[in-house]
């Protein structure tokens, strides 16, 4: 009897949490937005998502097996699937599929695996993939189909090479944005396939908070900063878009809830997370207002990704005993 007793150090129990539970938890949280994208953008959205996920998983498996020759595979933990879904969410639903595959190769192959795979990458793979595609294929990446209910995919009528009818593009062109609040909430506007329905994304946010997959710190600090900055600018110049328009347009919700909260590429301490969130919010407004691109969310997050090691070095959690009295 005694020779089969395990002797190990405490703790002897575990919460039962796992990497895959967290990854699949995020995927469940993404489901409402995914369903919305399928409804709004039809078969195009389904194809882009399927191809993106399949190629992300394939590239991770292949690189792990043939290039790194690593016997321990991480494809079952759901992280590659998650990157695939997020990459798809960040591109237009009518993007040629070969471009999607190229984006997946960059996201997984360059941004994730070259740094050492799961947990080691400096930048958010899906966002870096999107940025790569945006720079390489500006035309295809900014030709938005209008969402149409009932699987009716209508390519945007605007001239190729110009941004379509996204509220942010209109803002950039100095046009008045006259969007109905409810249309923006539900997602009746142009945009990448997963970013348009704020309601579905917020539903996912609540789910992740309840499941304790993420905490409120990063999303709330981003959204609050954007709202405050936009309110100030709108107050200074009433022609400037309202905070509501900023909050519900572009990739802000998707970025704040699902991209900036990526475990690997966000700071570890609560203090650091708030600094990171505020900086992303601020950069987003700066790029949206004065930058060359209409949308600043993904660049803001990527820029702040680069600062995460620095934030981690200088933002320590409050040690016990630092506050002696209440």
């Amino acid at each position: 009897m005694s020779n089969k007793l395990t002797v190990s150090l405490s703790p002897h129990v575990h919460s039962g949490d796992s990497v895959s539970k967290n990854m699949y938890g995020v995927l469940i949280a993404l489901l409402p937005a995914m369903i919305c994208s399928f409804v709004f953008f039809g078969i195009g959205a389904i194809l882009v998502t399927a191809v993106s996920v399949a190629s992300c998983v394939f590239f991770e498996w292949a690189i792990n097996k043939y290039l790194l020759k690593n016997p321990q595979s991480t494809i079952c933990d759901g992280s590659a699937i998650l990157t695939g879904v997020l990459l798809a969410f960040n591109v237009p639903s009518n993007l040629p599929l070969w471009i999607v595959i190229l984006g997946a190769l960059f996201a997984i192959g360059v941004v994730k695996m070259t740094f050492g795979g799961l947990g080691c990458n400096l930048f958010n793979p899906a966002l870096a993939g999107r940025a790569f595609l945006l720079i390489s294929f500006p035309v295809q990446m900014t030709t938005w189909p209008n969402p149409g209910l009932g699987f009716m995919t209508i390519a945007d009528a605007s001239i190729e090479g110009q941004t379509g009818a996204t509220p942010l593009a209109l803002m950039k062109q100095g046009q008045a944005v006259d969007m109905d609040f409810w249309d923006m909430l539900i997602g009746k506007m142009g945009g990448s396939l997963g970013e348009v329905c704020a309601l579905a994304l917020l539903l996912g946010f609540v789910y992740m908070l309840v499941r304790k997959i993420i905490t409120w710190h990063i999303p709330v600090s981003i959204l609050a900063t954007v709202a405050v900055c936009a309110a100030l600018l709108h107050w200074a110049n009433p022609a400037y878009a309202t905070p509501t328009t900023h909050l519900f347009s572009g990739g802000l919700m998707l970025g704040a809830i699902f991209m900036a909260t990526d475990y690997v590429t966000s700071p570890m301490s609560k203090k650091g997370q708030i600094i990171y969130g505020v900086a992303i919010g601020f950069l987003t407004i700066v790029i949206r207002t004065w930058g060359a691109y209409p949308e600043g969310m993904s660049f803001a997050i990527l820029i702040m990704n680069a600062f995460v090691p620095l934030i981690n070095t200088y933002c320590k959690p409050k040690r016990f005993g630092e506050v002696v009295k209440k």
Binding site: K4, L5, L9, P11, N22, G119, M268, F320
Partner: protein, 451 residues
């Protein structure tokens, strides 16, 4: 509801034996007393092979100020002074006594009558401390720090409160819970004795609210002792590691003890375990030295998880047999609770002063899942009750960066295991942090010795 401010986790409580009244365990055939049952210098044996001893006879004297004497829990003959493998896994010097009958030392009051301070007005603070010291009492929560040392705070410090730890935040364990339900009066008298010894007028008893019956019972009885001092029952939100000394002070009075070497008394608190309060009552009022304690014997596969009043020196195997025997699927045997207890190499380890529980885990529970890469989710940072960064400390220990580990306050780690418990990647965080902490402590000691 009150609780500590930083970190914490909530493991499944699994208090299987909470409704089991305390049973008196049978006497062992041979009782084994390791000489090192406390923090500090080991006790020195004062008996030899062939000596006759009674229940309550001192068999080893304190080996210094930070030490405690050891008393026989049985009557019989000293079989040998040899070694035994104790909970640490190492062979340690121990006294073996063959049990013959059950004859007690004459001075011990074995009656059940409650003796309160009202009956013993003449007791002085120093007398109480002296009796506690001479009875070999150590912290009964598991740390086993000699109680009289805790009651001798450094000159200049000013104790304001006694805080009684009745939290029992370890899953599975119910020894303190049962003790409160069955000996509430004795515990409260013990608390009044501690208050008198330290000359403070206020005591708090912190109890987690998963023991509502104990909170109610203790609350209903505190008024009885109002003339001896103000005892307040503080219900606490269930959160691990609330029973940690620093966490409990923060939870109860909202003050945080600074980093080591600061002691709890630096913020005005003297902490004692509820079992210690009971032992103090017995030592001072009943003249009974510390030789028995309440032990929870539990586990999901065990037929009858139970709470026992156990004579020290009894082998754990005997208690397991009394609960229906060692289950076939046992994969791990733990002395203490699942969060901070020690895995034992066999069931012959004797019950000592700090043995609060014996936990049997089945083969499946006993195995750790395979570690995966750190995904930097920061759950360990959120869980750490000391405000440390376990992911960083463990990584630094892996690469032997002792200098940086010291800067990152690794010595503040209380080894509660919340980080490893919560890690989704199943990383052995605390294993590495322990390595880092002990190495850094060694470096600090060496530096001090040099200076």
């Amino acid at each position: 509801m009150k609780t500590f401010r930083i970190g914490g986790v909530h493991p499944a409580e699994n208090k299987l034996s909470a409704a089991e009244p305390i049973k008196v365990a049978e006497l062992p055939k041979v009782a084994v007393f390791p000489l090192s049952q406390h923090i500090g210098a080991p006790a020195k044996a004062i008996v030899q092979k062939g000596d006759k001893v009674k229940v309550g006879t001192m068999i080893a004297e304190a080996g210094g100020f930070v030490s405690a004497p050891i008393f026989s829990s049985v009557s019989g003959t000293v079989l040998k002074v040899d070694t035994v493998i104790d909970a640490s896994g190492y062979a340690k010097p121990a006294i073996y006594i063959t049990v013959e009958g059950d004859e007690w030392e004459a001075g011990i009051d074995r009656s059940k009558d409650l003796v309160t301070l009202k009956d013993r007005r003449e007791l002085t603070s120093d007398e109480i401390k002296e009796k506690i010291k001479n009875a070999g009492i150590v912290g009964m929560g598991g740390a086993c720090f000699p109680t009289h040392v805790k009651l001798s705070p450094p000159p200049g410090s000013k104790p304001e409160w006694i805080i009684i730890n009745a939290v029992e935040c370890e899953p599975y364990l119910t020894a303190d819970h049962r003790l409160m339900l069955e000996h509430a009066d004795e515990i409260l008298v013990g608390v009044t004795l501690l208050m008198k010894a330290m000359n403070v007028g206020k005591a708090y008893i912190g109890i987690e609210n998963n023991k509502p019956d104990a909170i109610e019972l203790m609350k209903s009885k505190t008024m009885k002792f109002i003339h001896e001092g103000d005892i307040e029952i503080v219900p606490l939100k269930v959160k691990y590691p609330q029973g940690g000394e620093k966490q409990l002070i923060d939870a109860v009075v909202g003050r945080q003890v600074p980093a080591p070497p600061a002691l709890p008394v630096s913020v005005g608190a003297i902490l004692q375990n509820v079992g210690t309060a009971f032992a103090v009552y017995e030592a001072v009022m009943k003249n009974k030295p510390l030789f028995e304690r309440i032990v929870t014997v539990t586990g999901k596969s065990l037929a009858h998880p139970s709470n026992f009043l156990v004579r020290m020196g009894t082998p754990m195997s005997q208690l397991i047999d009394a609960c229906g025997g060692m289950p076939e699927d046992t994969g791990k045997l733990i002395g203490g609770g699942p969060m901070m207890g020690k895995a034992l190499i066999n069931a012959e380890v004797p019950i000592c002063k700090g043995s609060s529980g014996v936990l049997l885990m089945n083969e499946q529970e006993a195995k750790r899942a395979e570690a995966q890469p750190c995904i930097r989710c920061a759950k360990c940072v959120s869980a750490c009750p000391m405000g440390l960064e376990p992911f960083l400390l463990s990584k630094l220990a892996e690469v032997h960066d002792w200098e940086r580990l010291e800067k990152e306050d690794v010595v503040s780690c209380i080894e509660c295991g919340s980080c490893q418990f919560t890690c989704p990647s199943h990383r052995p965080l605390l294993d590495y942090v322990r390595l880092g902490k002990s190495t850094v402590l060694g470096i600090i000691h060496a530096r001090k010795a040099k200076a």
